[in-house]
Symmetry: C2
Subunit: 200 residues, 2 copies
């Protein structure tokens, strides 16, 4: 017996190992789980993967994932079409929707500027954002990018790009997370919270 599994199992372990967040041990565990799972459960997983690759596309307007383009948000007349919230990834749209505080539209960039990973402004869904701003409908662009180096770089880039257009450009507040302890806050977060202090 070789020191790798028989053909089919090893190929399944390899296929799962290539997915993000799954290491060789995790892939092995999943492979053996699927092996003893019912034919039906394995088929559900296969169908779900096939269905997503067949059906899911990106919205022609905002770049979010959807099954019919334009996506339900862009097509919804009850949403506020004067505000566009710019995010990095489709999952960020979901995070903001969960707050139930936002009724405007979105624009998904598909990433953030990251010179280390060779991602520049040209790799992001920025031209379509500029197209959307050509009409007079949009009053405000909210930059809701991740508060890390890549997000900050993208924020600065977009802010410089959009401010000459005469549109209000805002960004999410930085500060202490709700439920956290002042004692454990890092200096940069605390400094931001001080700078951004509001009337109590």
């Amino acid at each position: 017996m070789a020191l790798a599994y028989d053909g089919a199992i090893q190929r399944l372990i390899d296929a799962f190992s290539r997915l993000p967040g799954i290491g060789p041990k995790g892939a092995q565990r999943i492979a053996f789980y699927l092996l003893s799972a019912s034919q039906e459960e394995a088929q559900q997983l296969v169908d779900a993967i096939t269905e997503v690759k067949d059906k899911v596309r990106f919205c022609d307007i905002c770049g979010n994932v959807c099954e019919i383009s334009p996506c339900p948000v862009c097509a919804d007349p009850r949403r506020d079409h004067s505000v566009i919230c710019v995010v990095e990834e489709p999952k960020d749209v979901m995070s903001i929707e969960r707050t139930r505080e936002y009724r405007g539209l979105y624009h998904v960039l598909g990433g953030a500027i990251n010179p280390m990973a060779n991602v520049g402004p040209a790799d992001l869904n920025i031209p379509k954002l500029l197209d959307r701003l050509k009409t007079d409908e949009v009053q405000e662009v909210i930059l809701a990018l991740d508060p890390n180096i890549e997000g900050e770089a993208t924020c600065t880039y977009l802010s410089r790009l959009l401010s000459p257009l005469g549109i209000k450009v805002t960004r999410l507040a930085s500060g202490l997370p709700v439920g956290s302890d002042l004692e454990y806050a890092d200096e940069i977060t605390l400094a931001r919270a001080l700078t951004g202090r509001r009337a109590a």
Copy 2:
């Protein structure tokens, strides 16, 4: 927009969430990864799952996973057919093979006795082990079960079951892992290492 993703994506996230070791966030990450992955890579994963469910079976002799029964180990005349190493799962076979120290056969139980999860001796691949011991060929059974409560219970059960058959029943040594620190060893492991001390 609802607070869940569109149909197909949510179904894919749900399907991955059901796999062991993958939480909702991890499943979401994988779903979006597959969404932007090439059609080819997604197809490879689908094919690997389908292939395993189609081709992989359990060896009629030892219960290990294989594509042709009997498995390559059971069918190999160069292996020592007088020793059977009893393990819980197919992945344990691979762990022992990796040591390159063992040339005997295996027997895969398919789990360990665990009353909390309603797994009793009747749920394990024990009858086939007894069948294999009916010939005079087998001289020794090595119990290589996990050193936890379930493994110990299974070890004790099998040891009582097999000792009347006049076959040598042994178990893996307990003690300090190589490369570890005496200072950080738990009391039970240290006690086992003391009890099992050998001439230096």
